[in-house]
């Protein structure tokens, strides 16, 4: 195959664009898609400070690299999840990336800072480790952003992530979740704005961006995510994409452009009922926020075990 732009040898084909690209034009394609996402959705204004949620995986490192390359003022935040060798390798990749590019990487360790890790939280709650992990990330990223004056939290959610979450929300008609599923969640009291600048790029593209840019990322999949529902949705969507290129993009972009607004009212009702958590002061709909309830459950389990 030849590059769509320069007709040189291609390194990656993207069937939904009916195109292939050489290295340089593929990297430009990625930067253009991110800039378009930022501009179309008004994600980041000039001069704003961005906190990139960095896991050490392909998406977050590609995102950080692209944002800095586009001239945005972006620091990273790595959250230590305590998932054995996987977390060790992820932290190593994130630190090496920041060190080589002289970027600022903040770090928070769940166990040191909050007294639990993801495996212990999953055991204490008897629920999916991904649930405890996601809850912890949302809380800590927001707390660090608010405490340190960042305007925006940027996460590495890509087109495949958004398509899988959308499929899950539609299959169960989670209308409040559908109202909150958008490339931009506006700031509100106690919450920084959250943006997903990679939502126009598939995960094959973010992985290729890293390979072609020489970014060493954590290739191994999280051992605790194995067999989860999200991966099952991705498998189904990829089967669909293989038969019908562009299906995932049409699904997600169509939702963002034509359907999301129909669900915002339901999500808005929840927002109006927010108050400060009795324990940590974060905005919540109840007396105590979900993060503090999780910490309390893990802590009481540890006491019982003694």
């Amino acid at each position: 195959m030849k590059c769509r732009v320069c007709r040189g040898p291609a390194v990656l084909d993207i069937r939904r664009h009916n195109a292939a690209f050489c290295r340089d034009h593929f990297l430009k394609h990625c930067r253009d898609q991110v800039q378009r996402a930022i501009d179309d959705q008004h994600m980041i204004a000039g001069g704003e400070r961005v906190l990139v949620a960095v896991s050490g995986g392909k998406d977050s490192l590609a995102l950080w690299d692209v944002l800095v390359g586009l001239g945005y003022d972006a620091d990273g935040l790595y959250l230590g999840l305590g998932i054995g060798d996987y977390s060790d390798a992820s932290g190593h990749a994130a630190r090496a990336f920041a060190r080589e590019r002289r970027l600022e990487l903040r770090e928070v360790d769940l166990a040191a800072e909050y007294g639990y890790d993801v495996p212990s939280a999953a055991a204490a709650t008897h629920r999916s480790p991904c649930g405890a992990c996601g809850l912890s990330k949302r809380h800590v990223f927001n707390a660090v952003a608010v405490d340190h004056g960042y305007d925006v939290i940027a996460t590495g959610h890509n087109l495949d992530d958004e398509a899988a979450v959308l499929l899950g929300n539609v299959l169960r008609w989670e209308t409040a979740y559908l109202g909150r599923q958008h490339p931009v969640l506006p700031a509100r009291p106690g919450f920084a704005r959250k943006v997903k600048p990679l939502y126009r790029l598939g995960e094959r593209e973010t992985a290729a961006y890293c390979v072609l840019s020489g970014i060493e990322y954590q290739v191994e999949e999280c051992p605790m995510a194995e067999g989860n529902r999200h991966l099952g949705y991705k498998q189904v969507l990829n089967a669909l994409e293989e038969r019908s290129p562009g299906a995932k993009a049409a699904f997600v972009f169509g939702f963002v452009d034509h359907a999301h607004d129909r669900f915002t009212e339901e999500a808005g009702i929840e927002r109006e009922a927010l108050r400060a958590c009795d324990v940590c002061g974060s905005p919540t709909t109840g007396d105590v926020c979900a993060f503090c309830r999780l910490r309390e459950r893990v802590g009481s389990r540890a006491v019982h075990a003694q």
Binding site: L12, R15, C130, G131, G202, E203, R204, A225, H230, N238
Partner: protein, 64 residues
Amino acid sequence: MVLRNPRRELEIPGPSTVEALLERLDVNPESVLVIQGDTLVTRDARLADTDVVEIRPVTSGGAE
């Protein structure tokens, strides 16, 4: 042909293509990158018997 990560050897009468290799392994091309030696390659790339090929999964699943 030698496949990396995990390393295994596969008898494939060559020359073959990336697309044929993935089909034989029942791997969806949408879910992987294919790296021939140290170069990323497209579906139509030709693969020789002596090639070392990495089929790198790109699917991550860390969401609820």
